[in-house]
Symmetry: C2
Subunit: 200 residues, 2 copies
């Protein structure tokens, strides 16, 4: 069986693959996420997912599938990255509260054959997320849980932020960090059927 490698140390992405019974290894990439900041959100997640998957792929010998992903939160064209501290998280949540924003995830899958040749496919999915009105007090209480840490936009839709996310339009797992239907499709087109991991 081909090795399947997730080029991301995000526990949320790992949980999504585990849920599907996919056997995978984790190899984090050391890509500088600042380099692509000037691009549009769409181009940025495309480029970063490709850079992450490629960086890991070049060190792998033999047949392997390498999955790279990058997720950003955008509001009116502005990219909200991972807040580096409490104050930044509060600032981001104050921007997002009471409004809807878009979350983009770029997904690159690199397919490497036994001769070291590789092809890759890159996809982007966008999901609209609507926040209710959140008081400054609630933002403080949320940020005090430190759930914002390592999360684009400073929140986790699958966590305590669920009390103020009324509605999304699009794919939910894409907000968590991986557009699962696109990953399923790409793997299937390359001879890897996720459902084959479901047999008991």
């Amino acid at each position: 069986m081909k090795r399947i490698i997730l080029a991301s140390t995000s526990p949320r992405r790992q949980a999504l693959l585990e849920r599907l019974n996919i056997p995978f290894e984790v190899i984090g990439s050391e890509v500088d996420e600042d380099i692509a900041v000037e691009n549009s959100p769409y181009e940025r997640v495309k480029e970063l997912s490709y850079l992450k998957a490629s960086a890991v792929a070049k060190d792998i010998e033999g047949e392997a599938v390498i999955i790279g992903a990058d997720t950003v939160v955008t509001y009116l064209g502005r990219i909200l990255n991972k807040p580096s501290n409490r104050a930044e998280a509060i600032e981001m949540l104050k921007i997002l509260q009471g409004k809807h924003h878009t979350v983009y995830t770029g997904l690159t899958v690199v397919y490497k054959d036994e001769n070291g040749n590789s092809t890759s496919e890159t996809y982007v999915d966008g999901t609209d997320v609507e926040f209710t009105n959140i008081s400054d007090g609630l933002i403080e209480k949320y940020v005090d849980t430190f759930e914002f840490s390592d999360k684009a936009g400073g929140y986790a839709i699958q966590g305590k932020a669920s009390i103020f996310i009324e509605c999304i339009h699009g794919n939910y797992d894409n907000v968590v960090g991986l557009p699962i239907p696109l990953l399923y499709k790409s793997l299937k087109e390359h001879g890897i059927d996720i459902t084959s991991f479901w047999a008991e």
Copy 2:
């Protein structure tokens, strides 16, 4: 502190409350789910969530909050309940594949005071869910995982069915089984602030 009781044995609903650090007990209700089948989906989940919460509430002594919920999958006005076997699950997924349907969850919260007096609030939320085209072969493989068991419509959005759910419009947790923002709001209006459970 008031007792908080979830009148549902659904592990998914329990996981949603656990995620929010809510301290709760589980007391399943013995409500006959067939009684309200003739109603519209909207009226059905309202009524069943109320019946479930009330059935548990009447046996509770002292101050308590009782949470009841009922979730149905509907397609073109037809209610798809929990499939009772493999063949029914296949039939339901064949109806849903390649189309969008609506999931309704009714939520009733009963607030009981120390004198045994109670008030209740009932809410309904609807979420549109879009399935990709699914081959008969994929439906068979999905049903073989038995994930359909005890799930309205025969699928779990938060499980392996995520490979064929491209898109939703509305609240995700409502599809899982509880409209969390509505629960947060109702509890808050009755003096129970979920965020108070977040303090370490």
